[in-house]
């Protein structure tokens, strides 16, 4: 695919994700860029708030995930489309970088594209790694709870079961197999005051909730808290978990 064509494809595809039209990188000396024949952008990906671009959406989900004590609903469609976009942009940069005759203007544009790719890569990586951290930490809790599994991708669920498996195997080979029969399990329910052996997310932990629209939070004790549009409240995550999933509240 010649370099101009690759940017063409990129340009046409970018018109699908956001309304503005843009001619491609024009290769030095080649014909003038395409006229702006505005294509009607097809349906936006997912159901973002009206003016949120895919990257803005991912940034919101990234911040939500970084702050929430529990694991949030997966955004694999959005994530997949952004990964695609990064790959296409990187391929285009590779092609253009290989061409020795690029002008100074072209060189700067490549550097801008490269700078952005690394920024978006970082957001995607931090988002994914934050979810992985929670999945590792609550692997056995996730395995035991169907409802949690609906919030994660198949790859994450497989990772959770592999993780629970290698941990159980490790505990067994290092400790449990040498313990008396009565003690060899990982699911004791001792009648003493002792925390459960399965670590659970601390959903009562506080978060800073920014209301994107006027809404009502409900604390675990049943108290309701009015959240005016644009307000910022420090309160228990459990009180806003549903609102965060519904996109009415974001965690900042």
């Amino acid at each position: 695919m010649s370099s101009v064509a690759s940017w063409e494809a990129e340009y046409l595809r970018s018109k699908e994700s956001n309304a503005t039209s843009a001619p491609s990188f024009s290769h030095r000396g080649l014909s003038a860029p395409l006229e702006d024949d505005l294509l009607i952008p097809d349906v936006q990906l997912g159901e973002p708030l009206p003016e949120e671009t895919p990257l803005e959406q991912l940034t919101r989900h990234w911040m939500n995930e970084r702050h929430a004590p529990d694991i949030l609903p997966a955004q694999d469609v959005l994530l997949g489309s952004i990964l695609d976009h990064i790959r296409r942009q990187s391929d285009t940069i590779q092609l253009l970088r290989g061409d020795p005759s690029t002008s100074e203007e072209e060189h700067i544009r490549i550097m801008l594209a490269q700078t952005e790719v690394e920024r978006v890569q970082f957001v995607v990586r931090s988002y994914v790694r934050t979810r992985l951290y929670k999945i590792e930490k609550y692997a056995r809790y996730i395995i035991a709870n169907e409802d949690v599994q609906t919030r994660i991708t198949t790859a994450e669920r497989d990772f959770a079961s592999r993780h629970a498996n290698i941990m159980d195997r490790h505990f067994y080979s290092s400790v449990l197999q040498s313990l008396p029969e009565s003690q060899a399990g990982l699911d004791d329910t001792p009648h003493f005051i002792m925390p459960p052996m399965v670590t659970e997310p601390e959903t009562t932990r506080a978060v800073f909730a920014h209301a994107l629209k006027r809404t009502i939070a409900r604390t675990p004790e049943g108290k309701t808290i009015d959240l005016p549009k644009g307000s910022l409240t420090l309160l228990s995550y459990a009180a806003v978990a549903d609102l965060v999933a519904a996109g009415e509240v974001e965690l900042v």
Binding site: F192, I193, M194, P195, M197, T199
Partner: protein, 188 residues
């Protein structure tokens, strides 16, 4: 704090509390770390918190209200919570609040102890963050924080939980300072 695998949670429950036994128990004398072979009735042993629950809730022993929560301390805390050196009551690194929570769980009327713990904690909180942010600005060398030695003695009097909060507040302030300083050099 109460995660099964949490090292800090386990260490917190190693703190010892005095228990006066109401029954004899053969060859358990060493539980209290002492030399005797058996526990005999009305013996008082210092037991780790994780064991106190078992013996007290089974009514084999009564927990002795430690001086750290005696009336003298309670009155001092009601008068001026910032003046009391909590670390002096439970030993440096000791956990006065965790200690109080344990006792609360065993007491019948829990509200009074909860109020004591909550009010003490909240009133000392502003002082903890003030010092952490100011102390940080001067840097560890600048030991004399606001109010000179009274600040110094307040810091020394922090219990383990407060010390952790002090470190959290300091870390937050340091991170901000680093970001401001770094961005000066980083970009030009």
């Amino acid at each position: 704090m109460d995660d099964y695998f949490s090292i800090d949670a386990i260490l917190a429950e190693n703190q010892r509390v005095g228990c006066r036994f109401k029954i004899d128990i053969a060859d358990m004398g060493h539980l209290g770390g002492g030399g005797e072979r058996d526990i005999t009735r009305s013996n008082t042993l210092q037991l780790p918190i994780w064991l106190v629950y078992t013996v007290v809730l089974s009514d084999w022993a009564d927990m002795i209200m430690p001086p750290a929560f005696g009336s003298k301390v309670r009155n001092a805390l009601k008068a001026d919570p910032c003046s009391v050196r909590l670390s002096g009551l439970v030993g440096a690194g000791g956990l006065w609040y965790v200690f109080g929570k344990t006792i609360m769980e065993i007491l019948d009327k829990k509200q009074e102890m909860s109020d004591l713990l909550t009010n003490t904690f909240r009133k000392r909180l502003v002082q903890v963050i003030d010092q952490a942010q100011h102390f940080n600005a001067l840097g560890p060398a600048g030991g004399v924080g606001p109010g000179g030695d009274s600040a110094q003695s307040f810091r020394e009097g922090l219990d383990g939980t407060e010390r952790e909060l002090f470190a959290l507040a300091q870390e937050g302030a340091k991170r901000m300072k680093r970001w401001y300083e770094e961005s000066d050099r980083g970009r030009r």
